[in-house]
Symmetry: C2
Subunit: 418 residues, 2 copies
Amino acid sequence: MDAETYVKQLATAARAAAAELALTRGAQRNDGLCSAAAAIRSAAADLQAANEKDLARKDEFALTDAMVDRLTLTDKRIEGMATALEQIAAQDDPVGKTISATNRPNGLRVEKRRVPIGVVGIIFESRPNVTADVAGLCLKSGNACILRGGKEAMHSNQAIATVVREALTAADLPADAAIMIDRTDHDIVTAMARAEGLIDLIIPRGGERLIRAVVEAATIPVIKHYAGNCHVYIHSAADLDMAESIVMNAKCQRPGVCNAAETLLVDAAVAEDFLPTICHKLTDAGVELRGCQRSRKLFKGMKAACEDDWRTEFLDLILAVKVVDSLSDAVTHINTFSSAHTEAIVTGDLAAADEFVARVDSSSVMVNASTRFSDGGEYGLGAEVGISTDKLHARGPMGAEDLTTYKWIVTGRGHVRT
Amino acid sequence: MDAETYVKQLATAARAAAAELALTRGAQRNDGLCSAAAAIRSAAADLQAANEKDLARKDEFALTDAMVDRLTLTDKRIEGMATALEQIAAQDDPVGKTISATNRPNGLRVEKRRVPIGVVGIIFESRPNVTADVAGLCLKSGNACILRGGKEAMHSNQAIATVVREALTAADLPADAAIMIDRTDHDIVTAMARAEGLIDLIIPRGGERLIRAVVEAATIPVIKHYAGNCHVYIHSAADLDMAESIVMNAKCQRPGVCNAAETLLVDAAVAEDFLPTICHKLTDAGVELRGCQRSRKLFKGMKAACEDDWRTEFLDLILAVKVVDSLSDAVTHINTFSSAHTEAIVTGDLAAADEFVARVDSSSVMVNASTRFSDGGEYGLGAEVGISTDKLHARGPMGAEDLTTYKWIVTGRGHVRT
């Protein structure tokens, strides 16, 4: 079957499930989540058997060690999926909340009320736990989802989806609220991105190439989750001890994630005091430094940075370093090279903090805190769909509420317009 | 110059203006709005002279009488533009509002604060007042805008934009906060829809063909403003006098606008009582009726409706009529054929109203009120950008607040993640 017909068929089933879900109560959806959590725990052996099949093909797909690590379903990760579903069940119900309600002068009542979006399409890569997390967040918010995972995780994803679908049926919810696509040809991605009237939103999570391909093909709304090229700027009025601990944390605590720092900007006024010390510490921690000309004068053991280094999300123990003459230069550098994910300033100067917050055009701006806090859990959202680098609809960490839209409900007593 | 280079050049100027605007205070932007209002009043003669040039070409562009009417800048319409700008100035400032703020258990303060989107691109057709309205709403919300109007209104649009830009300069605001594109080749539309990193959002307002073309080309987010194929459903428990006055109002009070009704659905239980009377009234009011087989049995003077009639926004004194067996059938018809704009139910039955509200997948759902109330002004939003038929970011009437996004501002005292 061609990809377009195949996606239409699945999306039509998802749409019917979404219409059913829109009429369910939160308690019933929470039961579904808890029953899925229990089912995942009981099916642990089956899930690991499916996972073994994927892992056996690691050479065929030329997976790196990091990719194999992400793909592997350990006991701890399976328990993690179950716990995440229970945590999602425990959250407030985002559906049905009144955003605003007014009585107009003519007596008409105008209410803006949260409702599910409908059908959400998620396109993701290696981590199989995304299947359970995203299906859970969509169910919580009353949406049906169509998932398309990476080919290297196909057996694992299918096994998890089967367990979730059985749990939905057991909770008297439509199984088609969570559909895992079992084909991995790229045409499926294009067909999903063009399924107008059937899929309401596409969220691509993965590498830049995947996201670009989705955006290029799409005729339905896309919320992009680009990488995190995050910056830490040490302002002239920074407490340098604080600066040191924030830089070390932002770069070294978990270098492989999107909210780790990739570029350090140091104000010229404190560069002489700060740069040599922090560079020694970073080098001692195994970080490779790539610096501008001025920073290389202050610390010799540094390669020269090229323009590409300013744009790169290293996801590794590598840090680009630049001396800037002012807060304004730091902001210009960030707004030029950042992926608009998360940036931090370290300063004791209130006006500088305010200016940085106002001028930096990124989803999260940290004042005297590590970029590593940019995360749905840390922000109190519970589980997250991802971290949007877009400005429309949802920006930064996206929780279940961001998977809702609203409806205007207008109630009269025979009101007509004059 | 090719369209892409041209748009990039203008969008880069708008982007710089947006960065400046993001740092202005609301009072300053309001001064700009009031000074633009005053400038439009003083320039009335110049605006009408420019408008004459457009009107002189009406045969060249084969404008219908309705289009000529929309294009004409009367004294009243010029005063209307000025008044709208003053009303926008008087609204609450949407920028800088705290959406939520929490202190996390670790003492980190996490705030979600409204900020401008950046650069908004608007593509619209004949009405020149859109130039002033949209530039005003963008200025209010701290956004720069790039406007591309219809070729038939080019002189009028340019003249209005020139006045607005002079007023911005006089108020010490960047003139490039409002850029009117002076080329009307279609390549400009495509280039706008693909200006990633320069334009943050495209809003096409106009015919379905224009919107489809933008969606097809776009790589940046689009908020679609499709037509209104609005329905009124008369439930079995409707007060039939109320039903009559709502139907007459929804169809006849202003048939040429998007929130007028286009299809009447009558429950079989009340069809015999209701249909003949309402059809006589509608026919007397000059409405042409196109009915299903069952409704034609109850009222003879009706053409047969074809499937296209269920899909059509007539924007005229034409109404499609259908007898349905149940609320469920009404909902199915609406969710199949509607443009997801506005639908109304007339009923005295609370459960029926609740079910209709929950199941109809449109931006506005009216209970015992005319569809004609679906409007930013009627909902208390003040001026509106338009009525979104999308579900993402903004749904239904869009006001100045819908032209904002948010930023997460996280404040610590040297917080690092463990």
